[in-house]
């Protein structure tokens, strides 16, 4: 749990590098999310679909970008999360996730921070998006 930084437009979130994607995680995510699509689990199924090997769930990449905000959930919550997928994530891929503040404003509900976020493998962006994080009225920054 971390204190809430006094975020202002232009501030960067510290980049995070979760462990590379492995089969065990994909199996766990498939079970936990109820996604039975075999292209995330079986090499044969992935190859039959024209892929070089199993790929990670796009929504797992979104959740990985979401890790950027989990230290601050004591203070506020994710209000909107938008992600556009621009590349596939394969086994062994180490992703870097990060982002920066694009806006901070007072709203009727509290202080609303907007972030541009990304998930990258090397120089390739595999997903990018926008997160609004709301710190409700009455929570001290």
């Amino acid at each position: 749990m971390s204190g809430l930084p006094g975020w202002k437009a232009g501030d960067e979130l510290e980049e995070r590098t979760p462990p590379p994607v492995n089969r065990d995680q994909l199996k766990k995510y498939a079970e936990a999310s109820g996604d039975p699509n075999p292209i995330h689990l079986s090499d044969e199924a992935a190859e039959a679909a024209g892929l070089p090997g199993v790929i990670a769930h796009g929504m797992l990449t979104v959740a990985t970008m979401g890790l950027l905000f989990s230290p601050y959930l004591e203070h506020g919550h994710v209000k909107t999360f938008r992600s556009r997928f621009s590349g596939m994530v394969f086994l062994g891929d180490g992703l870097r996730v990060g982002g920066r503040v694009t806006n901070a404003e007072q709203t009727g509900e509290g202080r609303l921070y907007t972030f541009q976020v990304y998930a990258r493998r090397g120089r390739d962006t595999v997903a990018s998006g926008e997160v609004e994080f709301l710190v409700p009225e009455g929570v001290q920054p």
Binding site: P19, A32, A49, G50, S83
Partner: protein, 150 residues
């Protein structure tokens, strides 16, 4: 336009409960260490008063099916995702979840004709208040188009 006649149609909504164990397993699977997802004591002391669910947890819910709408089982591409919350999702929440095909359109891409399907999923609490809305863009490539029975 794929599935044109289903645009605007919704599923028969389904009740879902945000279960503690399901949240713990999901948090483990996404490798999110926040104690607010799994530690009752921390959650109780927090301003939520209850365990919290991760922002992408609504992926786990059953939204029912739009009757007659059969998507190909493989080869679909998830192009875009958006979720919007009126309030955070908490363990113990009971939500009536519904799926709607909002739109369908075609675009000529570099690799042939692409079909775009826009799905909306919503969760409402027992008083009928909207808790979240998700919007997914699903891309149907020309290779898969033949399997859509359209």
């Amino acid at each position: 336009m794929l599935y044109r006649r289903f645009v605007g149609r919704s599923s028969e909504p389904v009740w879902n409960v945000v279960e503690r164990d399901a949240v713990r397993l999901f948090a483990e699977a996404i490798a999110d260490p926040s104690p607010l997802y799994r530690d009752e004591k921390t959650a109780k002391r927090s301003r939520y008063g209850r365990l919290l669910a991760p922002p992408t947890f609504p992926r786990t819910f059953d939204y029912g099916r739009v009757e007659g709408l059969e998507l190909p089982s493989a080869g679909l591409i998830h192009g875009e995702f958006r979720i919007s919350y009126r309030r955070p999702l908490l363990v113990g929440d009971e939500l009536l979840c519904r799926l709607t095909l909002k739109d369908s359109y075609d675009k000529e891409g570099r690799r042939g004709l692409l079909g775009f399907l826009l799905f909306e999923r919503t969760g409402e609490d027992s008083e009928g208040n909207l808790v979240f809305t998700t919007n997914d863009t699903v891309v149907v490539t020309e290779a898969v188009r033949g399997e859509t029975s359209e």
